[in-house]
């Protein structure tokens, strides 16, 4: 399986993502934001970081970069596109995913481990995932998902809520909502379920000696479902 990670000026999770993808069997290529063409890929990843210094709005400038036109075409033809953290923000700015990531409710940059629950297994990302509640890391200032009531209804009707924040037992409530996001949303899918954006970083949880291993379940599920 072939993957490509896009690097924008200010991306800082691109190499971690590459290490994680390779560990679970992907042949990964790094792609510079100023390129026009994508290499042949089964998966495109928009990594975390602070693309273009978060100028204007997080992800807004990256959302207009040269490579993005190819990413949009790839996504619209059914290709898998995964955006983590800043990558999620970029996906909403391009319109590939609905809504927007606003500043955290209590105005703080949040950097900690959280528990998340997989809400929808009917997609290439989470089908056959061996664990449904994962401990993952978040590190963001703008992770507060927001959309209009009409959009939220459409998201729920189409079963697009992929991942929600919860406690270790899996209950999603106000206490387990770290940033004020509506409905505890941590990640959403597009209607067709080939695009996933999420704030938590699975690539930071693939080594039991450094962090934890719950991210491994995600990557194992992903590559297993692509084969």
């Amino acid at each position: 399986m072939k993957s490509s990670v896009i690097i924008f000026p200010g991306s800082n999770c691109d190499r971690d993502m590459s290490v994680a993808l390779k560990k679970f069997g992907f042949k990964n290529k790094m792609v510079w934001h100023n390129d026009n063409e994508l290499p042949k890929s089964d998966l495109i990843v928009l990594p975390g970081g602070f693309s273009y210094g978060d100028y204007l709005r997080c992800g807004s400038i990256a959302g207009k970069s040269k490579i993005i036109n190819s990413v949009i075409k790839f996504a619209q033809s059914g290709g898998l596109v995964l955006g983590i953290c800043n990558g999620f923000q970029i996906l909403t700015e391009t319109g590939l995913l609905p809504g927007v990531l606003q500043q955290n409710k209590y105005l703080k940059f949040i950097c900690k481990n959280v528990f998340v629950k997989i809400n929808n297994n009917e997609n290439k990302y989470f089908k056959d995932i061996k664990k449904n509640i994962l401990e993952l890391h978040i590190a963001h200032n703008e992770g507060n998902f927001f959309c209009s009531d009409a959009e939220l209804k459409s998201i729920e009707d189409n079963n697009q809520i992929g991942v929600t924040y919860c406690d270790k037992n899996g209950s999603s409530n106000k206490e387990s909502n770290p940033n004020g996001t509506i409905k505890n949303i941590a990640g959403i899918l597009n209607k067709e379920k080939n695009i996933l954006g999420m704030m938590p970083h699975p690539e930071r949880m693939i080594d039991k000696y450094l962090s934890g291993e719950d991210g491994s379940f995600f990557f194992e599920s992903l590559i297993g479902n692509l084969k």
Partner: protein, 77 residues
């Protein structure tokens, strides 16, 4: 010519920075401040002498980049 653009959060969209500013102003001895909404201001220098044409261009820029219409409104002045 110069075009000025103001981008603000839509009504009903939470503005935690505005709220923090309001609380600070209240605490500083301005209890009469009932609400603060923070926004962005852009000053554009556009190579165009026809004001109408320049504003049409500016409108396109707002829709495509300067504002995120999910949560923001824009005003060209």
């Amino acid at each position: 010519m110069k075009i000025k653009i103001i981008v603000t959060l839509k009504n009903g969209v939470l503005d935690p920075q505005g709220k923090a500013i309001q609380q600070t102003l209240n605490g500083m001895g301005f209890p009469e401040v009932n609400g603060v909404r923070q926004g962005k201001y852009f000053d554009l220098e556009i190579k165009e002498n026809d004001e109408k044409k320049a504003k049409v261009k500016a409108e396109e820029m707002c829709k495509k980049l300067l504002a995120n219409l999910v949560i923001e409104d824009y005003k060209i002045i």
